[in-house]
Amino acid sequence: MNAISTAKKLPIPADALGLLAVPLAMLALWVLVTRAQWVPEQLLVSPTKVIEAVGELWEAGELQGHLQNSLRRLFLGFFSGAIFGLIFGVLMGLFKSMEDYCAPLFNAFRQIPSIAFIPMLILIFGIDETFKIIIVAKAAFFPVALGGYDSVRGIPKNYFEVAKVYQCPLWPLIKQVVIPATVPQILTGLRLSLSRSWMVLVAAELMAADSGIGQMMEWGRQMFRMDIVVVGVFITGLIGFALDYGFKWLESRMARWKMG
């Protein structure tokens, strides 16, 4: 009994230390390398400079502005793309004839990376907001549509048979069988598409934008401001992580009936 409780208590701080040890060591190395000037300043900026850059950007209100613009584009594009994708995917999963008509075109477009559409969309819509929202929506559309389609097709036939035995009408069938059976996979599709949308948005902002985190990084690169570029890398990573983590949390909450 005693052994178990100590065994349970001890590893937690040890584990946390272990988890933090390597990143801390890397940070220390970074500080050391830049302090000792083993590497020229242009090649590796010091952590203090990065922190100063954050402060500077924040004071000037630039960071907030870029963040706000990027996130607005992300959510507008993601939600419109995801909603259309979900409707399209579920309908294609439910109706065979719709699949016959739409699947080949859908699959053909799916093969083309979203990024490859950027020049085309710039030519059609110019470099304004429309183009960025559309490219994000496009990136969000396909994974969600695919997830919706697969999840509807993947509902075991058994479930429909049980529903038939009890003469379940259409609406309860959708509400009590189709939706719960598909939610986990659809959420996974949404999560995937959210992180893809984020990547595509950053790329689009790197290529053509007057604001946004991507534009901030691109500006930093052109001005050889490595500190600003590193700030951008950190922030894109942080946002990517937060989006992914938030969705995983949502998934675990919405599919609590699943094992483990």
Binding site: P104, A108, P113, A116, M120, L123, W198, M226, V230
Partner: protein, 254 residues
């Protein structure tokens, strides 16, 4: 037979309608004609770019970047993922760093890589390496971790040596996951090749060709590039699916 034919026919309806709408739009005056290039003109440009060798040169350059990056990034990823799967200590040390680096969207690294390595071939290849590195690490790790313990126990009972355990149990057991990893790595390497070429415009490549065409407002070339990118991606997927189907034929498929 007849049914399959009818199904194919249905699949053609939508693309044809789309082409028709495109063609009609291209005839709505000059403002439209800039974006909606007549299909016939796209066809002529296609023949031109093929005959001049422009398309092929750029396509081969892109494929070169993609395959170099895939080979290097994939191999390193396979090695690191396997080590992390086999040795919990390696996992503990490298895992957190790996996972925190992974959070940055791939193309988000581009400005930094640009600062360090310029905007030529080396920078592009590095981006592609990174793109194929992540999925290989994740999947080879998962593959080794997913080899069922009872299979390992059979090996132990039969007195398999460490090497034999790798050769006969761990590697074949991890293979399905490793293939998923290659699948993803292949897809990501192609996407990142195009992405890096769009952003690092020096040197040949489909992305660069497309970017130049966009600057010159040549929609026909842009469309040709987009279509080529799609076709190459499709061919990659199909051939890998065939290959993995052959190598993993011991698995029961439903």
């Amino acid at each position: 037979m007849g049914l399959v034919f009818l199904k194919r026919l249905k699949g053609l309806v939508l693309p044809l309608v789309l082409l028709m709408v495109w063609e009609i739009a291209s005839r709505q005056g000059r403002a439209y004609a800039l974006t909606f290039i007549p299909i016939e003109k796209i066809g002529r440009s296609l023949i031109e770019t093929i005959l001049s060798g422009e398309l092929l040169t750029n396509l081969l350059a892109s494929l070169g970047t993609a395959s170099t990056g895939l080979l290097i990034g994939g191999t390193v990823g396979l090695g690191l993922g396997s080590l992390m799967g086999l040795y919990p200590r390696v996992d503990k040390i490298i895992g957190p760093v790996f996972h925190s680096f992974r959070q940055v969207p791939l193309l988000g690294w581009i400005p930094l890589i640009g600062l360090w390595f310029g905007n030529g071939c080396l920078a592009k290849t590095l981006v592609v390496c990174l793109a194929s590195f992540y999925p290989m690490v994740l999947n080879s790790y998962a593959g080794i971790r997913n080899v069922e313990n009872n299979h390992l126990e059979v090996g132990r009972v039969l007195g398999a040596s460490r090497w034999q355990t790798y050769r006969y149990i761990l590697i074949p057991g991890a293979l399905p996951f490793i293939f998923i990893g290659i699948y993803h790595a292949l897809a990501f390497s192609w996407i990142s090749t195009v992405g890096s070429e769009l952003l690092f415009t020096a040197g040949p490549g489909l992305g660069g060709m497309m970017q130049t065409a966009q600057m010159a407002a040549k929609m026909d070339i842009v469309i040709i590039c987009v279509a080529s990118i799609g076709v190459v991606g499709l061919l990659m997927n199909v051939s890998l699916a065939k290959l993995s189907g052959h190598l993993l034929r011991w698995r029961s498929t439903r």
